[in-house]
């Protein structure tokens, strides 16, 4: 080769192409992003649930705060009656609740009458249900569309966020294993 430095651009190009290809097919990215490339990673991972003081949907007059979410590993599901995907995932939450999974609800920018009717009709998998009519808790949670589901530990720290409908596959691949891991951690490493 007369001018070896002429190869530098080619090598750079191949290197970048390789890097992009690897990122595209990366196992972790595949799970979190490639299924839905528009899903954003949450900025709140490893941070506590933001402070709030909002009315309870089920018990009129009661005010719920972030403290009420503490004590158990739980799912926090942001839902609304105007969201068709929420209806689609509701049966899955009923099933998980019957298996003993703690689920809290954030009723996001909804009409509370309609929300209560919906729970009567479809079943209520939620232990606590926070009314967030203005979406203020939603903004503090970085919610940009329902449904979104957070996984929190017993100290109220957010460990994972799933955007979209939770179904059997999402539970088996993404939420379930993380939930189990947190449970095991909470019980001091004993399964």
């Amino acid at each position: 080769m007369r001018r070896p430095w002429m190869l530098i651009p080619l090598i750079l190009f191949l290197g970048l192409a390789g890097l992009f290809l690897k990122t595209l097919y990366d196992k972790k990215n595949l799970q979190d992003l490639a299924i839905d490339p528009s899903a954003l990673p949450s900025a709140l991972i490893d941070k506590p649930v933001p402070a709030f003081a909002l009315p309870s949907l089920d018990e009129p007059g009661r005010t719920l705060t972030e403290q009420d979410f503490r004590g158990e590993v739980a799912l926090v599901n942001v839902w609304a009656t105007w969201c068709p995907t929420c209806r689609a995932e509701h049966a899955m939450f009923n099933k998980l609740a019957s298996q003993g999974v703690t689920i809290h609800g954030v009723n996001y920018k909804d009409n509370s009458e309609a929300a209560r009717r919906w729970l009567e009709e479809l079943g209520n998998p939620y232990q606590l249900n926070v009314e967030d009519p203005q979406g203020s808790l939603g903004i503090n949670l970085g919610v940009y569309g329902a449904p979104e589901t957070f996984l929190i530990d017993a100290d109220g720290v957010i460990h994972y966020k799933y955007i979209g409908a939770v179904d059997e596959r999402v539970w088996a691949d993404q939420l379930g294993p993380r939930y189990q891991a947190l449970l095991e951690q909470a019980s001091g490493g004993q399964p």
Binding site: L40, A43, G138, I139, G142, Y144
Partner: protein
């Protein structure tokens, strides 16, 4: 025919106004900042629009938040940080200058500079080669060959 066009235009007019809310500002400076901020913040739901252009409910909410914080007297940095803390770096159309984003900021300039350097080196070399060639005079043998070549050209 003309009235049909007028009807079409009349129907299109509301579309142009779709993402405009009625916010009132105390000062012109605040209004400017509101428009600047909402055009620099990306809508998390409709990812190729800023929150000024987007009609998504979340963009409306974020505009309201920006307006609220402006009225509370927060500066631009505080407002952007508030949203980055909740929605991640993604909401910035102008990424912050951090070690991770340095390549975005300086990459193009560095590549341009590298290109110029390569060009300069190549030009220098060529010039040097030309100068050397010019400095060399032809030997007698070469003179004679050149002469005969030229003559042959003229004959044909």
């Amino acid at each position: 025919m003309r009235w049909l066009w007028l009807l079409v235009l009349a129907l299109m007019a509301p579309l142009a106004l779709a993402a405009i809310d009625t916010y009132e500002f105390d000062t012109e400076e605040q209004r400017q900042r509101f428009y600047q901020l909402s055009s620099e913040l990306r809508c998390p739901k409709c990812q190729n629009q800023n929150i000024a252009d987007s009609d998504a409910p979340i963009a409306m909410d974020l505009r309201r938040e920006v307006y609220r914080m402006l009225n509370e007297g927060k500066d631009n940095e505080e407002i952007v940080d508030f949203l980055v803390a909740r929605y991640g770096e993604f909401v910035r159309y102008k990424p912050a200058l951090t070690p991770a984003t340095a390549i975005l900021w300086f990459g193009p300039a560095a590549m341009l500079l590298a290109g110029f350097i390569v060009l300069l080196v190549m030009l220098r070399r060529r010039q040097k080669a030309l100068r050397e060639a010019a400095g060399k005079s032809l030997s007698q043998d070469e003179q004679r060959r050149l002469q005969s070549l030229l003559e042959r050209e003229e004959d044909s």
